[in-house]
């Protein structure tokens, strides 16, 4: 029975020239096609598609997380930069303050030293003036004594005699003039 169907089928196919139209082959073709489709469908739904979907979702979440992490790191970098700038400004202000303080201290020291030196100089000058005045007074006395002696000797050499009282009075008058 099967043989006759096949023969007639093949005869029909040869007549039409297309093996595709051989009805004897339809049964096995359809059966195995359906088996194939069912197998592929189950392989896809049970294994392949969930796995690929999982991988894609995981990649998407990884990318999202990475972008978020990068954003966070960028924020942190900006904050760090701000903190650095702040620290730099603080340090600069501190340094300026220290410099100003040191300057003021030094100025005070210098002023004190200058005042002390002025006072010392004034004292020394006064002392020197006193000494000069004393020396001058001493010198006038000595000149007077020398002039008296010289006058007495000159008067004696001229043959006159003069008492000490007159000479002294004359010298004193001359010294004043």
């Amino acid at each position: 029975m099967a043989i006759t169907t096949q023969e007639t089928g093949q005869a029909a196919a040869e007549a039409s020239g297309m093996p595709q139209l051989d009805p004897a082959a339809f049964g096995t073709q359809i059966f195995w096609l359906v088996v194939t489709l069912v197998v592929i469908y189950f392989v896809l739904t049970k294994i392949a598609l969930p796995r690929i979907e999982g991988v894609l979702a995981e990649r998407q979440s990884t990318i999202t997380n990475d972008i978020a992490a990068a954003e966070e790191l960028k924020q942190k970098a900006i904050e760090a930069e701000d903190a650095y700038n702040q620290a730099l400004a603080d340090a600069r202000a501190e340094a300026n303050k220290i410099v100003a303080e040191a300057k003021a201290e030094i100025q005070a020291d210098v002023d004190a030293a200058a005042a002390k030196a002025d006072a010392e100089i004034a004292a020394k000058a006064a002392e020197s003036e006193a000494a000069i005045a004393e020396i001058r007074a001493g010198a006038v006395e000595s000149v007077k004594a020398v002039a008296k002696d010289a006058t007495q000797d000159i008067v004696a050499a001229l043959g006159g005699s003069a008492d000490a009282k007159t000479i002294t009075a004359a010298i004193t008058a001359r010294m004043k003039g």
Binding site: G27, T28, W32, L33, I40, Y41, T45, A48, V55, E58
Partner: protein
């Protein structure tokens, strides 16, 4: 300098390989006198023959069964074995698997709508089967399962029956609105309804014959050229060259027909889910 000479050496080896291949082919043509008669049997490649003898019964294992099994294995190799690494940075085969997944998923989403996504595994099954069967069919001496109208008719029939039942289940009698063109003037509507109804029932026919016809035509053309090559002797390089060109075209057709079949399935699915015009 050494790199360049190595590259040139590789090119030279390639040229030598192709020259030897061409000589073997041409000598086979020239020195095999019994093949020189015009023996063109372009349709023989489509014959379904039992692998282990016997008659063609309903579940006989035939050469077609073998190539159906090979396409199942190809799908498993590509989508299951290829993606086994589950890597964040994919390997090459995993990339292809993800590409296929994204391609069909986006197609379903864009063409059939967001609510059609739950039918994505079925559409993916259709696409993967057709695309692997088409590409396997391009191998020399292979059997192309999608060149058989019995195969494509079942594929299109599954889509047609599923989509029709889904349309009625989702929309009830509202599914008939698909045939009632409410934007047309009232007197025209019954006529349009008849045309729409006919075109609806022609869908599975065109859907199936388009795929089988395209695949079969290309394969038959290649076989015809191959017969010329046998008959022409030394001048056989001309048809061999033509075969290369047709084969390149067939590579395109293999993918495009799988794509067309799948996108039409999505369109029909959209009609079932949203029957209003």
């Amino acid at each position: 300098m050494a790199e360049q000479s190595a590259k040139q050496g590789g090119g030279l080896a390639k040229i030598v390989f192709f020259v030897v291949l061409a000589l073997v082919l041409i000598s086979g043509v020239v020195f095999a006198p019994e093949t020189r008669e015009l023996a063109i049997h372009p349709m023989e490649q489509f014959k379904v023959t039992p692998l282990f003898g016997g008659d063609l019964g309903a579940i006989t294992i035939t050469n077609q069964t073998l190539w159906l099994a090979l396409s199942v294995i190809s799908v498993i190799l590509l989508l299951v074995v290829g993606s086994r690494g589950r890597a964040i940075i994919p390997s090459r085969s995993q990339s292809i698997a993800e590409l296929a997944y994204g391609f069909i998923y986006k197609m379903v989403e864009d063409v059939a709508g967001k609510d059609a996504v739950k039918y994505f595994p079925g559409i993916m099954t259709l696409f993967m089967f057709i695309v692997t069967a088409n590409f396997l069919g391009l191998l020399p001496m292979s059997f192309t399962t999608t060149s058989h109208i019995a195969v494509t008719a079942i594929l299109a029939g599954i889509v047609f029956v599923f989509v029709t039942i889904l349309g009625f289940v989702k929309n009830g009698a509202g599914f008939l609105g698909l045939f009632w063109v409410s934007s047309a003037p009232l007197p025209l509507r019954p006529i349009l309804a008849i045309i729409e109804l006919i075109s609806y029932f022609v869908r599975p026919v065109s859907h199936s014959i388009r795929l089988a016809g395209n695949v079969m035509a290309g394969h038959a053309v290649i076989k015809v050229f191959a017969g010329f090559a046998g008959a022409l002797g030394v001048a056989g390089f001309l048809p061999i060259f033509a075969i290369s060109a047709v084969l390149a075209l067939e590579v395109l057709v293999a993918f495009i027909q799988a794509y067309v079949f799948t996108i039409l399935t999505c369109v029909y699915l959209k009609d079932a889910l949203h029957p209003s015009h």
